[in-house]
Every structure is written in C-alpha cells, then in structure tokens.
Symmetry: none
DNA sequence: TATGAATGAGAATTCATTCAT
DNA sequence: GATGAATGAATTCTCATTCAT
C-alpha cells in the first residue's frame, strides 16, 4: 500500500537530494535524542520539509532509522577490514587506531547513533552485530593473536585489545559533551593530542618490550 | 503545590522502601530505553505500584530522572577521588582502572544511564559535569602530570589518559550488547580477562620504560 | 504496556457501565460505517467520553470490534441451536424462521455488523465461521436431511434451505434502508407481514405435498 | 474547475479503455473494502496507473463510487423489468429468480458493492432507490398481486415475495465468504444446487396448491 | 496525458499528569 | 497513602487531493 518511491530504474535528482537531506537530518536528530526521543517532526523540520513529504520517501520512522544503520555499518567495519596481516604489527594496529579516531572526529553523529543503538540493547541492529561484526572481529583477532604468539607484539588478549581501541577512540565522539565540559571549549585541537596519546599508549603497550623499534616521542 | 515527602525529618520505613523500589525500577528502565524512551508505566509496573502512587513520591518523570543522576554522580566520582598523590603512581593508576572496571561490572545500569545522558548532550547533568567533575579531573590530572614530569610514569597527557581509562572500562558496561555479540555468550568471565588486559596495557603504557617493576604475565 | 482494566477480581460498577456504553456506541457506529469507516472519535462521542478514556477500557479499535463480534456470535448461533431434532419438522423450521426474524427486528445493528464483516471477507471472524458456525450448521443440516429422507418434509437441500432462511430474515435488518425506500415509511408493521409471508412460504415449500396439516391463513 | 473528460463527443479508445480499467479496479476494491475502507492507491494500483492519472478521469473518490453505482442500477433493475405480466405467473417468477441468481453468480462484486452501500444507509444511492427502484417494484408488485388475486399463484404478499427473492439470491454473492466457510471449498457447483433449491422452493410456495403443474424433481 | 512531488486534514495511539475518592 | 479514572498534548502514520512539469 505504501509507495516507497518506486525506483527500480534510476532515482531522480530530486529524489537523491531529498533522500540525502532526510538522512542527514535524521542522523542529526537520532544521534542526539535516540530512536524514541527523536520525532519525525524534528527530522522533517531539520530536513526542510513537511512530515508527510518525509514519509513519501521513507516508509516510517523505523525504516528511516534502519536505513541509517545500514549505511553506517559499512563505514564502521571498514577500518578494521584494512588491518593487514602482512603488514608490520605495531604499524598496522596504530594505523587502525588512527583511522578509528579519524572516524570519531569526522563522523561523530554516526558514532553516537551507533552508541545509542548498542547501549539500548541493539534492538534494531543485533543481526548485523553477529552476522557481520563478529566474523570480522574474530578474523582480525586471530591475526593479532598470531602476531602475539610470534612475539611480534606483546602477549595481549586480541579481543580485549580491539575493545580498548574501539572504546578509547569512539569516546571522543560519543562522550564529546563530557570531554568539552572537562577540557573546556578553549582546549585546542583535542584530536591531535588524543591521536598522539593513543599512539603512544598502544605502541608502548604492545611493543615487544625493550626493543621498541620506533620510540615514541611524546611532546 | 506538590508535596514530595511531607516529613523531611523521618521518612517512614515504607517511604524509604518505596523510594528505593522506584529508583531501582527507574534505573532499570531509564538505562535500557533512555529518558524519552522510558515510560512511567514501565517504571511503575517494575516498581510494583500504580502510576499515581509513583508520582506521589516523585514529582514527575524529570524529577525521577534527576534524582537518579544525582545519586549516581557521587558513586561515579569516588574512584577518581581515591587516586592518591602520595601513593605509587603506577599502582594508583592501576587501582583506579581496577575500581572503574568493578563499577562497570557491578553497576552497569548506572553506567548506561550516565552514557545515555552524556551521549544525548547531558541536558540534565551539564551542571554537575562542569561543577563537580571538571574540578576533580583537573585536580587529579595535575597529580598525574606531576608524576609524569617527575619521570615516575611515562610522559603522557593526563587528561587523555583519564579519558582512555574511563572509556576502556565503561565500555564493558555500556557496550555490553556488542561485546556479547562478539565474544558469544559462552565466553566465560570477560571481566577477569578485561582486568588482566587493562592492567597490562596501562602498566606497560605508563611504565617508565626498561624497569617495569611488575612484569605482567598474562595467561 | 497497555493496561486493559486489570479486572482479575470484579469489575467496578463504573467499569461495567462504561464498558456497556462503549460497546453500545461501537455497535452503533461499526454497524453503520463498517470497521474502516468508523472512527474512534465517533464512538467516543457517541459513548459520551473522550477518545483516550475509551482507550482506557479497550486496547484499540481492533480490540473493540473483536469484543463486539465475540459477543455477537453466541447470540447469532442460538436460534439454530434450538432447532430440535425431536420436534415436529415443519414447526421446528418455522420456529427457527420466526426466531431469526425476531433477531433481525430486535438486533438490526448486530445483524448489520455481522453482514459488514462477512461481505468484506470476514477478516476478523473467519475462525469463528469455520470453528463454530460450520459444525453447528452441518449438524442441523443433518437433522433436516434426515427429516427430508424420512418424507416428513419436502426433499430439499438442507444447507441451501438454511441459507435461504438466513438471507430472507436478515434482509429485514441488513437492507432496512432499501426496504424503507420501497415500502415507504408509512408502511405499518413490516415485521408482522414479513413473518406471515415467510411462515407461509417455508410451510408451503416444505410441506409434504397435499396434506398440509396446518393450512396457512394469509391475509 | 475540473475537466473530467474534455471531449464529450468522441472519447478516445485510450480513454475508454482507461475508464473501463478504473471502473473495474474500483469495483474490485470498493466491493471488498467498502467506500471508506477503499483507498485510491489501491484502486490506482489495481488499474495499473498512478493516482493523479486516475483522478484525471474521475473527479474524486466520491465521483468514482457514484459512477459505479449508476452503472450498477440499470443492471440491477433489468431482471425485474423483464417480469412479464402477460407470461405464466409461476414461470415468470421462477425466471426472475433464475436471472437474479445468475447475476449473483456472474456479478458478485456488483452485488457486494450494492450491499455495502445499502447496509451503510445508502448515503450515495438513496435517490435512485426511491426514484427508480420503488416505482419499478411497486409496478411489478401490482402484477404479482393481480396474479394472486386471480388465483394464479398462492395468495402472498408481493412486496415481501420480492424481498425474499432478492435476499435469497444475492446471499450467494454477498455472503460468499460465509457460504464458503460452511460448505467448504470442496463443495462443487453451489450455484447449480442453489438454483434447483430456489426454483423448488418458490414453485411450491407459490403453486396454487393441489395442481402443481410442473412437479419439481430434486436430486 | 501522465506522473513525481507535496500537503492538510484526519485517525489511531501513547503518555505524563491530574482528579477524585 | 493508594488507586481507578480521565484527559490534553503529542506523535506516528494515512489518504484524498493538488501542484508542477
């Protein structure tokens, strides 16, 4: 009965623009208020259109949220996918940390949307977690585990290492408000410092002890 | 107009019990669904009473949420307050990590309530952040900074160190669903492994290089 | 989440009255406009209360409609259930016709509600049709069939006889508007004439030929 | 303001085809869901065109429904019009029954559309009922009445006889769902049996008693 | 003609809060 | 203290209709 813009062929220019505008507005609102807290009114207003018009492009609130999450998942998995078993262990891991931090800096709304969803039990994304995320994490954890067993990095639990990378980077997006409150808005360039700190931390934590090839120069 | 609890002097036992039950139920529901997603019906049912009865004890949804957050703030600040400038730097920091992880394990609902609030811009807790949290963090950051400058720990940015401790520990409460999805429900005792991993990580990251007093033997 | 008047014990007086008023109003409106055509606004207004108040007693439009249909089914089956295999065939059948016509006269709204539901494919009552109605009809059709085979009534198809009784009696309720238009509102006492006509018709149709025991005196 | 079909002179073939398609689709949908329950979306989809396109041919939902009813009325009156005062009374009446049953078999959607309209108070067809239907019925009732007074058929109330013919035949279209539920989908050829039954019934009911010219042999 | 786009007027339902007992 | 009853203000979603091309 609903007519979700039948575009078996090619989406019109106007469709693309509107869709983009809606998704952007929805990301804004959902990431700020959560699924239940967000209202279509807010989103429609933010997207510069009427509510029925918004519903002309997306079947409903749920569908809109879903569309956001789906687009998000790819972006979210990509940094870890790039972790290369053939690369230098420490460099690979630090590069991963770096990419994740960039994501937090450049896509904080996406990060918060994701965080909101997970915190509330992932009712709308649970499948992707076990279907896409888990296999990828297991695969990369195996890579890291192999590095550790080979003595190329310190002997750490790979899964928990990944968790600590996730949390310490995403924190800058998700808990932005708190960081602002603590650092003050005058604090310049928190991401540069965060990047430096995290690289230093993970490099030292994982470096195989005494022979830290690349001594981190902090400050 | 509203008469929260008539006698400020001695709250009846019944009053205390009811209040306790309501706060517990509210914590359950708010932490799971967020402020807007939670309904007084859910909370009242979970607390085993009628909605009007609940509203006899708390002036409204907002007030109930506020009460939870206020109680929470103390608990939340305590571990950091215990960080002792006079203690051994590494031990103090590791003890802090440990206490935070215990909080995440023992009070995951509180952690999620807090996370929900922060992610959504802390509309109801902003004052506490700048009024209570910031001063404390600044104070302890100064302590850590002094340790670093004295060469007693590695030269790290104290604020970002604190952020990384917060995030990597709270992650086990806030992103519990995701961790479950990745580790599988069969994974035993994730907190033990997390504790071991985090201690190892922070000890290596902060240890002043070659003379790591307490070499952590994981596994 | 919904609190459909938790009356595990005994419904309050006020509950009974309101429930009664709502069901009555709903019958009015549903029978006149069909399920989709009826609005809760209409029903609530007709019941003399606000829409949310109505929804305090019934979980929703669907549930309200369902409640009506369920109450209806009993009433609707009763006349046929009374058809007694041990009675005089013609008398039994004529009594059934009579009872059905009385129902049409006294409960036209119920009849129209039922008709509306059936005409539209019985989406909300299909189960009752095959679960309750069919067995009963089959049973009574067997009785009639036995009478016919025994030569106690004319040899008619019992199922189609039942259909003709249903249709010719319910017609006076369901097609009331049309009958009014044809007969004019001045026509007195259409049910008396209908009763006389139907009794005559079925008696002659079923009477075993020449020896019509009870000659019908029409006019 | 609205320009239904510009050229009243020669409707294009395309116009005719579209109009036909729309009316057919509308009949489908209206007869199944009632006026309020039907949506233009459904109808447009069923007619294989867009909603605005449909509205190019018909001024609105109301107008479309009206158009259907008007076309219907002729078809609906025809069988009764053919009742010939000069024919054999019993044969004429049975032929009428037969034609009505054929209509029910061949045009069940039309029958249900009509039934829906009447049951809901005929808000959109009341005029036709008193303007066209009533005169015709009165005329034919007079014919039947004359036959009865002349002793050519049993002495029955002509109007109620007509009602019983209407109801017992249309029942097979309008209450199709119920009949299916009772007879089961395996029941073959219900219209043949219905025809036999109804002919038998009306012939016996109207036959002038002892000298039933054409004894009906059922089964 | 035809259709993608847009919308205002409902309609169902939810929910925090108030009232009365 | 406690609760059944009630409601106004949303909030999501539907749908007939209109607009612009």
């Amino acid at each position: 009965m609903h007519n979700p813009v039948p575009q078996p062929k090619k989406p019109t220019r106007i469709q693309q623009e509107k869709t983009r505008a809606i998704l952007d507005a929805a990301l804004d609102v959902f990431s700020k208020y959560g699924f239940r807290g967000a209202t279509l009114d807010q989103i429609a207003t933010a997207a510069g259109m009427s509510k029925p018009n918004l519903l002309y492009y997306f079947a409903g609130k749920e569908a809109l949220h879903q569309a956001l999450l789906e687009r998000l998942m790819e972006t979210w998995l990509e940094p870890l996918q790039k972790l290369d078993a053939a690369g230098d262990p420490l460099d690979e891991i630090c590069a991963y940390v770096h990419r994740k931090l960039e994501l937090a800096r450049d896509f904080p709304r996406e990060s918060r949307l994701f965080a909101n969803e997970i915190i509330q039990g992932a009712p709308r994304i649970a499948d992707s977690l076990t279907g896409q995320l888990k296999p990828l994490v297991d695969e990369k954890a195996a890579v890291i585990g192999a590095w550790a067993r080979a003595g190329r990095i310190a002997d750490v639990n790979p899964h928990h290492l990944i968790f600590s990378i996730w949390s310490s980077t995403q924190h800058y997006a998700d808990f932005d408000t708190q960081i602002n409150a603590v650092l003050g808005s005058a604090y310049p360039d928190r991401f540069t410092d965060a990047d430096r700190f995290l690289e230093q931390m993970f490099r030292r934590a994982l470096g195989s002890g005494e022979k830290s090839a690349k001594p981190v120069v902090s400050d």
